[in-house]
């Protein structure tokens, strides 16, 4: 399974959840598969999906899922200690780890070589870290949503991309409808 297959299986599980989605193909794939006001698509700023998601989770009570990639986490490694030391039990970080920089042509990442992101997350102090295979990701996510614990999921999958259109929505529209959905869910 490649990342778009993982997302396809995740859609029924996360469709009604607040999602902050990583820059590039992950956002484009999620946008194509299941565009929702509860999705915040990153159109730029590689590496910050987990930081933005943590900020949303700390500011309000509803569950927030950040969909990140191995390459993006590697670019913002400082995020893992911050997440570990500022526990938000309504926060789930899903790292789709295909061992490559998918959006830029599948160049290999160190996560696909010697570096284990799950081991790094644990070493940083994250208490609930689950590494799973792509086939099990939707079930693991379902359990994480049902639970009440900050969870880091590292989903191992194959590298590869499908053809997807870029997101042409205005960023302020994406932000505003996301904020409106959060405000309504919290009132």
């Amino acid at each position: 399974m490649i990342r778009s297959d993982v997302l396809k299986e995740l859609v029924p599980v996360i469709s009604d959840q607040f999602v902050v989605c990583n820059i590039g193909l992950p956002s484009q794939e999620l946008h194509m598969l299941d565009d929702q006001p509860t999705n915040f698509y990153m159109l730029g700023t590689m590496g910050l999906a987990s930081s933005i998601g943590l900020g949303v989770a700390l500011a309000q009570e509803k569950k927030v899922i950040s969909i990140d990639g191995d390459g993006s986490v590697l670019t913002n490694f400082g995020t893992l200690p911050t997440i570990a030391n500022n526990v938000a039990d309504n926060f789930i970080l899903l790292i789709i780890d295909n061992g490559s920089y998918g959006s830029t042509g599948d160049q290999p990442t160190y996560a696909g070589k010697k570096t284990s992101l799950a081991a790094v997350a644990k070493a940083c102090g994250c208490e609930t870290v689950i590494e799973c295979q792509a086939e099990d990701c939707a079930d693991v996510m379902r359990e994480a949503i049902a639970g009440d614990k900050m969870t880091v999921i590292v989903c191992k999958c194959e590298s590869g991309n499908i053809k997807v259109p870029v997101i042409t929505k205005d960023p302020v529209v994406i932000r505003d409808r996301f904020m409106t959905a959060i405000r309504e869910a919290n009132t």
Partner: protein
């Protein structure tokens, strides 16, 4: 009122509920006040772009946020300021220690100081420079302006403002 307490009081009065910080010697006092403030969630960041991401999330989650950092961070955060804070039109007060100005003992700090205002100007970020402690009387108005216009706004605070570096 003590300047650190005044800054934090202005933050609280403007409903800022989350503040992220990356330390600087000049900012140690205000960071201590932020940490002690029961109305503000203090979340130290490992790098300033990470902090700006957290602030963006907090804002979208319904809480006003701010970042406290050194001017060297302008060099670190250009992409984040442009493609996140500005592109999605989010407010972000940035209280910045303006290292490398008069009374600076460390020569290397001057290298970023000479670029700081030029970079902020290039990024079209409204910028205010606190040199005397009385300049901080405008902080409340600057914060209101920031949340009115949904832009990042820089408040540069130099060594004279903070009372120098003591015997350093």
């Amino acid at each position: 009122m003590d300047i650190d307490k005044k800054i934090v009081a202005d933050f609280v009065n403007n409903d800022i509920k989350l503040v992220t910080t990356v330390p600087c010697k000049q900012l140690a006092g205000v960071i201590d006040e932020i940490d002690a403030c029961k109305d503000i969630y203090h979340i130290p960041s490992n790098k300033e772009d990470e902090g700006i991401g957290i602030c963006a999330g907090a804002f979208m989650g319904g809480k006003r946020s701010a970042i406290i950092m050194q001017n060297t961070a302008i060099g670190v955060t250009v992409n984040t300021l442009v493609t996140l804070t500005q592109f999605y039109r989010m407010p972000l007060p940035m209280l910045i220690s303006y290292r490398g100005e008069l009374k600076e003992p460390v020569a290397c700090q001057v290298e970023m100081a000479v670029h700081t205002k030029a970079l902020l100007n290039q990024l079209h970020i409204p910028t205010y420079h606190f040199h005397q402690q009385s300049d901080a009387e405008e902080l409340d108005t600057i914060l209101k302006y920031t949340f009115m216009c949904n832009k990042p706004v820089a408040i540069l605070t130099d060594a004279t403002f903070w009372g120098g570096y003591g015997d350093q």
